[in-house]
Assembly symmetry: C2
Homo-oligomer: 432 residues x 2
């Protein structure tokens, strides 16, 4: 994550209320002239393209667009002309940039506002083709080469373990939890998720597991501790691997779990189970056949595999701001696109589950903890950093809650493997 | 189903042993000259392309190919030169044709032999591209126009209800059953399947269901009787619709269930649940977006949908003989290809389950009942008909058991629908 050093101020920690909007910048006389008719028309047109969400822009001189509609759910205060033109030229990217800088302020509840925007937004098939084409071209992603992936991932995950500790669960699981009951705590739901993954993989004591993209290593430790397996877990984030190794050693799991600081493309060896939770969305579509070929080489004849990834109902790039500023190189695949990992090697999909609302619930917990520590975060990081993370968490929550993002768990075996359960009831037996 | 009238003889009802092979046809002197070296070489090459399955061809004069391998699992007796050349020119289609006519006989257990052939056969990605190209072109399917679909379906399903009664369950369900325990009877497993579909759809009393491709109408009756819903069920098979209407009336369900003799493309009206069990594999890939658009028009905002279809792990046409002689126009899609129904309309896949082994088990029951009634079938139908159906049932069983065919159940809602259960445990609660 970039940490812009400009405009470092104390964070507004307990509210999303506007701070800067309406106050013209010193020396910005020409830029602060009243908005022209063309500017107001263009902004109304932008709202139209976005499906006319129940929000109202409030420009730097107090002019409102639209002016006549019923009371909006939220007001979006635009600080100056430069911000307006940035929004008009590339709204998907510049909304987040302007919010990060504090040049766009949301007056109203941030998550509700973002959900309303997502709900109003036209479905992929109903969007203007020209508009989408321009957006795609403007926000085209870089290639996920080995070096590029390293840079992309380090940027996000090496922000500092201490930062993530403030709002993740105690095991530092940075993927969708599983809430068979929505009242579970985040800690409980992350434990349940890890257990659910192990059940889906039907792990047996003594088996070997390869994990691609292990984060801070919680799943590998869980598998070793509760299922008696050995795990080789890969990750290219130096900070995460260091943490994972130290924690496994401290918990006496060092002999069972090996954390390898390397790319999934360098995975070697054989395994009874292959698991990847929350990596595929960073892999990039071009690399799906490569990932599939690696699984094909690793997985034993009777092996089981599980891919857990953020996804889409319809093919569409990642939100440009998330892709550029938060998760460079990320792309959430549709189920159809995910099959490009499995189909070329002839794997057989046994089970797909969409845990979309579980990710929304997970993000509610994360965002609440983030806000609960906003004093601490504000003291340690600059305001832009805090605002960017708040928008990222709130925006992701809104995207999962409104169906713009999905969460697919896909279980597979080799084709023709017949040692499979007759029903999925075993996944739910003896649950607390 | 065609019923060739030629060579009507009493069926060999309790064995798959050879009858005709080795006996030259009268007047076939030139045709019965010993196989040439080129013919033996070509046959060996064919076996090589097929992955050298553990079978041995025995030609009309007793020559065996291959001659030197270990004892085979089964012997394939080839009656004459014409049959050999047909096999060489288009093995996928002509194997079944020759078996149907009795010009190719399997000495050994038929299902085991077919499973061995499927197991040895190279995976899609490992097959010779030229070979596959020729096979695809030779066996290219006709288009599923409205008139073509009618002809295709009438050919198979209007064979006569009495024939299917001999080997289907009491409710006449002609799709994959559900065996949460493999020891269930076929009747129990079909009931469990229908119940499982209703649970996946979360049917509530008073809701309306549209069913596309209802067979003899068992699922529609089950839904009405046990879940208190109204069902409009479509089918283009006249024989099936007639049976379904009579049975619903006799069971007092006439007011709740309406059977419509029409194509899925003519479905009209609104529904809380859309279900299609065993139709998609007859729809043809080109029509998937059409089917999706129809579901999009019909399904209520909070509606649920379920598609149940034979499928594949890798894209590949239906076995040519099945496609030409048994199920004209059929194509089993991969999960990726199935998404062409749901993705264009933005539906959200909640759950996919692969019930492949359940179809193998279902076919074991059907084949056993078929063989148990072979006296009756032999008395009513000619031998070619009996042999074709035996090969079709045994071959389908072998294909599911070895992973050449899959059975996907896909549950979906509209994008952004949040009234969904937090877990799938409800599918397994209170089961007997």
């Amino acid at each position: 994550m970039n940490r812009p050093e400009s405009r470092r101020v104390n964070a507004s920690t307990d509210s999303h209320q506007a701070r800067g909007a309406g106050r013209p910048r010193p020396g910005a006389n020409a830029a602060s002239a009243p908005p022209t008719g063309i500017e107001r028309w263009a902004l109304a047109r932008l709202l139209g393209l976005a499906g006319n969400p129940p929000v109202r822009f409030v420009l730097w001189n107090g002019v409102e667009v639209p002016a006549s509609d019923p009371p909006p759910l939220a007001k979006l205060q635009v600080r100056d002309r430069r911000t307006l033109w940035q929004l008009l030229s590339n709204p998907e990217l510049r909304f987040g940039d302007a919010y990060t800088r504090g040049d766009l302020e949301v007056e109203g509840e941030l998550v509700e506002c973002l959900q309303a925007i997502y709900r109003a937004f036209p479905a992929i098939g109903e969007q203007s083709g020209l508009y989408r084409g321009i957006q795609r071209w403007r926000n085209r992603a870089g290639l996920n080469t080995l070096a590029g992936s390293l840079s992309n991932i380090q940027r996000h995950y090496d922000t500092g373990n201490d930062f993530f500790k403030l709002w993740l669960d105690e095991q530092m699981v940075y993927t969708c939890a599983y809430f068979p009951s929505p009242t579970l705590t985040l800690e409980q739901a992350q434990q349940r998720k890890m257990d659910y993954v192990c059940r889906k993989l039907r792990l047996q004591p003594g088996e070997s597991v390869i994990e691609a993209g292990c984060g801070w290593g919680a799943l590998a430790r869980h598998m070793a501790r509760h299922y008696g397996v050995t795990v080789r877990a890969y990750n290219i984030s130096h900070e995460q691997i260091r943490y994972a190794r130290e924690r496994a050693a401290a918990e006496g799991l060092g002999a069972q779990v090996e954390y390898v600081e390397d790319d999934y493309r360098n995975i070697r060896g054989q395994c009874d189970a292959f698991v990847s939770v929350g990596m595929l969305e960073h892999v990039g579509r071009d690399n799906y056949p490569t990932l599939g070929a690696i699984i094909d080489v690793c997985l034993a004849p009777h092996g089981r595999g599980l891919l857990h990834s953020i996804g889409r109902n319809q093919s569409c790039p990642m939100n440009a701001w998330i892709e550029r500023r938060i998760f460079p190189g990320s792309y959430p695949p549709t189920l159809r696109e995910m099959m490009a990992v499995l189909e070329p090697s002839g794997f057989s999909v046994l089970d797909v589950e969409n845990l979309r609302l579980h990710y929304a619930r997970t993000l509610e917990h994360w965002l609440a903890r983030f806000e609960g520590h906003s004093d601490e975060i504000g003291a340690r990081y600059d305001e832009a950093f805090t605002r960017a993370w708040r928008l990222y968490l709130a925006g992701s929550l809104a995207a999962f809650a409104t169906g713009w993002l999905q969460l697919f768990q896909v279980v597979f075996t080799r084709s023709g493997e017949n040692a499979i359960p007759w029903s999925r009831a075993h996944l739910y037996e003896g649950e607390p």
